[in-house]
């Protein structure tokens, strides 16, 4: 790396304290892991963590896109659940439809996301309420259809969740690719940059000729799409559709967004911070498992880290 390039990087990092905080926290976790366990610092374990973080990663990308335009999506967990049921139930009856159903499920998620955005936009109701309502409708419908895990997928489809290419998990590669594509989109495409403009000030964006409504619809559709992708991943990982699998995902998808320094009011933040947030949460959980620490203590530690990170952002003048 040349001097000018590293100076550029440092300058970038100085401009974005959230990235420094999350990198610092990541370093603490990794160093602690090396010190506390001789099995933590193996490539095999890091690849496992990458694989395990994929579901949360997909869901967090969608949540981040909605947060950047100034919204929030509380239906992500419900879309994940509905997607797993939809996919596993159909494929169980028609195993030949496995490949088309992957795309069908992603389309299904994107359509639900589109409906969320459309209702919020047309009615003026806060997206928090709209997506909460959608979540309730989806969860209720799923539980009317089945109370227990149902359906199934062909054995080979497990490879998406568990398979490796040159020892790198396929699901992890897909997740990293998604983050890279969205980062490029938000940074170098006009529509992508419009996400920040709409999130920062919808009125100013409108006056500058940006079609805010289209951007908002695109953000919510993307959120539904990535929630469905998380659903596809969970079907691959569990082999069934599960009516409760998405329950913890909604709040979990917000945590990396906050840790990654995205501002809940919208308009600012780096999607790569969200990726680091996802990896931080997954590595932390992994390390605490290695230390044989109870889940309840894990919650406490996770909560403390969120508060520390957010406090630092606020201290830097970036209110969340």
């Amino acid at each position: 790396m040349t001097y000018s390039k590293s100076r550029y990087l440092v300058r970038r990092l100085q401009l974005d304290p959230s990235l420094i905080i999350v990198i610092l926290l990541l370093s603490i976790v990794v160093i602690s892991g090396f010190v506390l366990s001789d099995r933590f610092g193996t490539m095999r374990n890091f690849m496992n963590v990458l694989e395990q973080s994929s579901g949360l990663g997909f869901a967090s990308i969608g949540q981040a896109m909605v947060v950047i335009v100034g919204g929030i999506d509380l239906s992500i967990g419900a879309v994940v659940t509905a997607s797993t049921i939809f996919m596993a139930a159909v494929v169980d009856l028609h195993p030949g439809l496995m490949i088309p159903m992957i795309f069908g499920t992603l389309l299904f998620g994107a359509m639900i996301g589109f409906c969320n955005g459309y209702i919020a936009m047309k009615t003026g109701v806060h997206p928090l309420i709209v997506t909460l309502g959608t979540a309730s409708i989806l969860n209720g419908s799923v539980l009317i259809y089945t109370l227990q895990p149902t359906g199934g997928v062909p054995y080979w489809f497990e490879e998406f969740a568990y398979g490796r290419i040159w020892n790198v998990p396929i699901s992890g590669l897909v997740m990293l690719s998604c983050f890279a594509l969205i980062w490029l989109f938000l940074r170098y495409f006009q529509t992508g940059r419009a996400f920040y403009a709409v999130g920062g000030s919808p009125e100013a964006a409108r006056l500058s000729g940006i079609q805010s409504n289209r951007v908002i619809l695109l953000a919510y559709s993307a959120s539904g799409f990535f929630a469905a992708l998380a659903g596809v991943y969970f079907v691959s990982r569990t082999g069934v559709g599960d009516p409760r699998i998405g329950d913890p995902i909604t709040l979990a998808s917000i945590t990396p967004v906050i840790l990654g320094g995205l501002i809940l009011g919208g308009g600012k933040g780096n999607i790569l911070g969200v990726l680091l947030g996802v990896i931080l949460i997954s590595l932390l959980s992994n390390l605490l498992n290695y230390m044989n620490i109870s889940t309840f203590v894990q919650w406490v530690i996770q909560g403390v880290i969120i508060i520390i990170a957010v406090s630092v952002y606020v201290h830097k003048g970036k209110k969340l």
């Binding site: 109370l147 227990q148 895990p149 913890p248």
Partner: protein, 378 residues
């Protein structure tokens, strides 16, 4: 060949019940679920897993989300403390009811070089792929409380039968009402396989009594508070005198139902017949008030039994594919029915001097959840 087959079955019978006999509280005969099971129980050759020890066992727990699960975990710890000479390291993870976290937990345990995976699956189906992979990796799996779909995904499954528990308590209810009456069903947590299996088994029984009318079925999440709130609403709607019986799959919510009747001014023996074991508080309410009652514990001692069986696997001892642990049928005096007799009468079983929160059937001597502590390997 035939002789060998029957010898295998006999061996399965003996080793399949021996640990259960050691752990049972009162009734110490062969587990009814074993005696009445119309299927055969395979014996698994575990010689390929045999090692010298001390062993590293990983325990992937589904949750400690209610009183029963807390006691079950204590039972697992108790089982480990009884095998300190054989277990060198015991690593625990808790998935908080999330099957996807549990899959990650299991991967983390495997990376720590465990010799055997003991698992209480969060759901019956979702863990199948990862447990299959664990077995193919050469690490034996013992499931406890819930099994997974494929036989090839585990060596042995340790249980007290949900279906037997529900069929017996439902039969007792139907016969107590002489086959006629309006009843309420209070199952546990919607979607949880034990709750669904028990509910389905109970409905099978009630369907054989055309005079039994199920006026409402409400999931309670095995919570006393939910049980009370839900039953109070049903009493408000139907009137207490129009409810002839309450079938609960556990005393956790059953106790809440009894308290709702008391809150509505229905006292003593006027409280309609109730079912539901596990919680000492439920037994205390039944004993104090004298209403017809049948309680069957889904005994948390399956935890210790599963640890003992895990050690057997690692020592290469043949184990049954399914290990049934005994349960007790507890009935209030004078309320036995044609089909259902008491193993223990209520006054002989209830612990009036112990806390109401106590979960029965732990198999741990002088068990007190608040002060429970045992020596563990690490």
């Amino acid at each position: 060949m035939i002789k060998q087959f029957f010898r295998t079955l006999l061996l399965g019978a003996v080793i399949g019940v021996a640990p259960a006999m050691a752990i049972a509280d009162g009734y110490d005969g062969l587990p009814r679920t074993f005696l009445w099971n119309p299927n055969f129980n395979r014996v698994i050759d575990t010689s390929s897993y045999a090692g010298d020890g001390p062993f590293t066992i990983g325990f992937s727990n589904a949750s400690q989300g209610d009183g029963w699960l807390g006691t079950f975990y204590h039972s697992v710890q108790y089982g480990v403390s009884e095998n300190l000479d054989r277990i060198g390291r015991f690593i625990v993870t808790d998935a908080n009811g999330d099957p996807t976290k549990q899959i990650s937990d299991i991967q983390d345990l495997l990376e720590q070089g465990i010799d055997l995976l003991l698992v209480n699956p969060a759901t019956a189906d979702a863990l199948d792929p990862i447990l299959g992979r664990t077995m193919r990796r050469g690490v034996p799996v013992v499931t406890v409380a819930r099994r997974v779909e494929s036989d090839s995904s585990f060596v042995s499954f340790v249980t007290a039968s949900d279906t037997a528990l529900a069929r017996m308590s439902a039969t007792w209810m139907a016969e107590t009402l002489n086959g006629k009456g309006r009843i309420v069903l209070l199952p546990g947590l919607a979607g949880a396989s034990p709750a669904e299996m028990r509910l389905q088994a109970a409905k099978e029984v009630f369907a054989q009594f055309p005079g039994i009318e199920i006026i409402d079925t409400q999931y309670t999440g095995w919570s006393p508070a939910n049980g009370r709130q839900i039953m109070a609403a049903i009493i408000q709607r139907e009137g207490a005198s129009n409810i002839d019986g309450v079938w609960a799959d556990s005393g956790l919510q059953g106790s809440g139902s009894v308290e709702a009747f008391i809150g509505a001014g229905v006292m003593g023996a006027d409280i309609p017949p109730h079912t539901g074991g596990d919680l000492n508080g439920m037994y205390q309410l039944a004993h104090e008030n004298g209403f017809p009652f049948a309680g069957i514990d889904y005994t948390p001692s399956i935890g210790a039994a599963a640890v003992h069986l895990s050690v057997d696997v690692l020592e290469g001892t043949p184990v049954p594919q399914r290990l049934d642990v005994n349960f007790q049928v507890v009935i209030s005096p004078g309320h036995e029915t044609r089909s259902i007799s008491a193993d223990v009468l209520l006054p002989d079983y209830v612990a009036m001097d112990r806390p109401g929160e106590l979960i029965m059937g732990s198999g741990i001597p002088n068990y007190d959840p608040a002060s429970f502590s045992v020596e563990l390997p690490n």
